[in-house]
């Protein structure tokens, strides 16, 4: 839909509707009914063509014997799903994804809230608050690829973290954080916490600034101290924001791929394998597109549950 073309047409109510000259009011009202769809058409073409169609495709693949690689495909029912669910790596990925998400979301919330409270506090001079807000938001602005490379350097056996940890006596000898079976998952979770908390922080800060001051005044009159005010005014007022953020963050974190792929690749031996890396490997390392599709559909179903919760929560708020 080119605007220049439409603007050049003789102007009338429904100028942007292509077709013969305006006629009877009946017809014109029919065209007017079409107008919103015309405005929406580029969006709908993109969303249907590149969202609805691909989802239908992946669901179809997941019921086929050999998708993409072999044109001679046949319907195999739930075989691919059974194969995926019975794969021990899938169970490990599912558990890892849950741990990775739960810990990340809780930490994002706690750190985000702590920083938001500090940035909103009148105990700190305004200039300092503005400066720190810019610094504290930085990790969020970094490309995942950069975050991954940076932390690989910091966490390498002869990197800064190990130097500090050994000198402080926390660990005896330098540790291979990202290639240790026990520490790799905590390490990537930590990196994900580092780069994800600012989103919570900014949203909670906005939430804090939206709390009416008279609520605090009233609480003070009732003799509430800072802690009581926080529990009885701040938290209840932030509740809707917190739930929205937590659900969104859970959805996004469960879809995290790049960070894990570029730091550990899912290793060592599945220690950091999550649903996205598991699915990716099935498709683009084993070229088993049918099973990968089944796995991708399972991921979609899990995300849908979260999304439904999110939409319901948004509706309830309104």
């Amino acid at each position: 839909m080119t605007s220049a073309e439409a603007v050049a047409l003789p102007s009338s109510e429904d100028v942007d509707v292509p077709g013969p000259a305006p006629a009877a009011p009946k017809q014109s009202s029919g065209r007017r009914a079409l107008t919103p769809y015309l405005f929406l058409s580029p969006t709908l073409v993109l969303l249907i063509g590149l969202m609805a169609v691909p989802i239908a495709m992946v669901i179809a693949y997941s019921f086929m014997k050999r998708a993409i690689t072999n044109p001679d495909t046949s319907f195999v029912g739930l075989d691919n799903y059974l194969a995926v669910i019975q794969d021990p790596s899938f169970t490990v990925s599912l558990v890892n994804t849950l741990i990775f998400c739960a810990v990340s979301v809780v930490a994002h919330f706690v750190i985000g809230l702590a920083f938001a409270l500090l940035l909103n506090s009148d105990l700190v001079p305004v200039g300092l608050r503005v400066a720190f807000r810019a610094i504290l938001i930085l990790p969020w602005l970094f490309t995942v690829a950069v975050t991954a490379v940076l932390w690989r350097m910091l966490l390498s056996p002869n990197g800064v973290i190990n130097y500090l940890a050994t000198n402080a006596g926390v660990v005896g000898a330098p540790i291979e954080w990202l290639s240790s079976a026990d520490l790799a998952l905590p390490a990537i979770t930590f990196i994900n916490i580092w780069c994800g908390y600012p989103f919570f922080m900014i949203s909670l800060l906005a939430g804090l600034q939206g709390i009416p001051q008279d609520l605090y005044e009233a609480a003070k009159v009732d003799g509430a101290g800072p802690v009581a005010q926080f529990v009885s005014v701040t938290l209840p007022q932030l509740r809707p924001v917190i739930i929205s953020m937590a659900l969104l963050d859970f959805i996004w974190t469960s879809q995290q791929f790049a960070l894990i792929w570029m730091t550990t690749g899912g290793g060592p031996i599945n220690a950091t394998e999550v649903l996205s890396t598991f699915t990716y490997k099935l498709a683009f390392a084993s070229y088993d597109f049918a099973e990968a599709s089944a796995s991708a559909v399972i991921v979609l179903l899990l995300s849908t549950i979260l999304a439904v919760l999110y939409v319901r929560h948004q509706r309830a708020k309104e």
């Binding site: 169609v53 495709m57 602005l141």
Partner: protein, 289 residues
């Protein structure tokens, strides 16, 4: 928190407030270290030699400051190409999605029509579709359409991901603008497209800017589709370039850090300039949706 501020009568409260102030500043400072030190380390490493990066004890400020790593990257046509690709794709995605989203948002803001609710739900729910689910069919689709390993493949893909946010944001902006504006344009003989392009879009500049910056960031940072939908070095974007560097030169850390710094600069600059617009847009989008 702010309780003691308004009733500072007694000295004991004064003292307590002092302590709280000191604690708050210390807290912020520690937070600043947590957020900023890794970034400073990246910056400092990009000016070091490769051997100096892992020197013990580590030093934040190098004595042998050198721009060699930057020179190596900026004189290597393969690596410069990664940056050009990222700029082309990110700018195209921003402009195209602004155009498409403005039209969509106009319809959703100004009209009542059948299936409006369903279309709204479609737009919102698209945001929750996991990229990994779409990756496999996209691979097939993009090859089928003949746009594998091309800008078009990446641009179309990214547009689908940023459109929902853009439409929701712009619909919100348009909703705040009075309909009398549209009517005034109609009286002057302007059509709907004129109203949108000449009036609503310019007035919503803060919203347009925050959506543009956001879409640029998403496109600039995207990894998994850039990895899967391109094949040759001349089509790779910066995130993939950084990863290629990591695989190729068995860890030229200073070059990787220099490339990382260069890879962050456009987003940081955009963010610094448009911080105010962007923050309000971001939080509005996140909190309301």
């Amino acid at each position: 928190m702010s309780t003691t501020a308004t009733i500072p009568r007694r000295r004991r409260i004064h003292g307590r407030r002092r302590v709280a102030q000191v604690c708050a500043v210390i807290g912020l400072f520690l937070g600043g270290l947590f957020a900023g030190l890794p970034i400073l380390w990246m910056l400092s490493s990009s000016f070091k030699s490769n051997t100096e990066i892992f020197e013990q004890p580590p030093r934040l400020i190098t004595e042998n400051f050198s721009l060699d790593a930057y020179v190596t990257i900026l004189t290597d046509p393969v690596k410069v190409r990664f940056f050009i690709n990222s700029y082309v794709v990110a700018i195209a995605v921003s402009l195209l999605s602004l155009a498409v989203a403005s039209f969509g948002a106009y319809a959703l803001s100004r009209f009542e029509f059948p299936f409006k609710k369903q279309i709204n739900v479609l737009i919102i729910s698209v945001q929750a579709v996991p990229p990994i689910t779409l990756l496999i069919p996209y691979f097939g689709l993009v090859v089928f359409l003949g746009i594998y390993n091309s800008y078009a493949g990446l641009i179309l893909t990214y547009m689908v991901f940023v459109l929902p946010y853009a439409i929701i944001m712009l619909t919100g902006y348009f909703n705040t603008l009075p309909r009398e504006l549209d009517e005034a344009v109609a009286v002057d003989g302007g059509g709907r497209v004129t109203t949108l392009v000449r009036i609503l879009m310019p007035i919503s500049l803060p919203g347009m800017v925050s959506v543009g910056v956001y879409t640029f960031m998403i496109a600039w940072n995207e990894y998994i589709f850039a990895l899967t939908l391109t094949r040759t070095d001349d089509m790779r974007t910066v995130p993939i370039g950084i990863q290629l560097l990591m695989g190729q030169h068995s860890y030229n850390w200073n070059e990787m850090m220099a490339m990382s710094v260069l890879g962050c600069i456009p987003v940081l600059i955009l963010f610094l300039i448009f911080q105010r617009y962007f923050m309000s847009g971001m939080t509005a989008g996140a909190v309301k949706v």
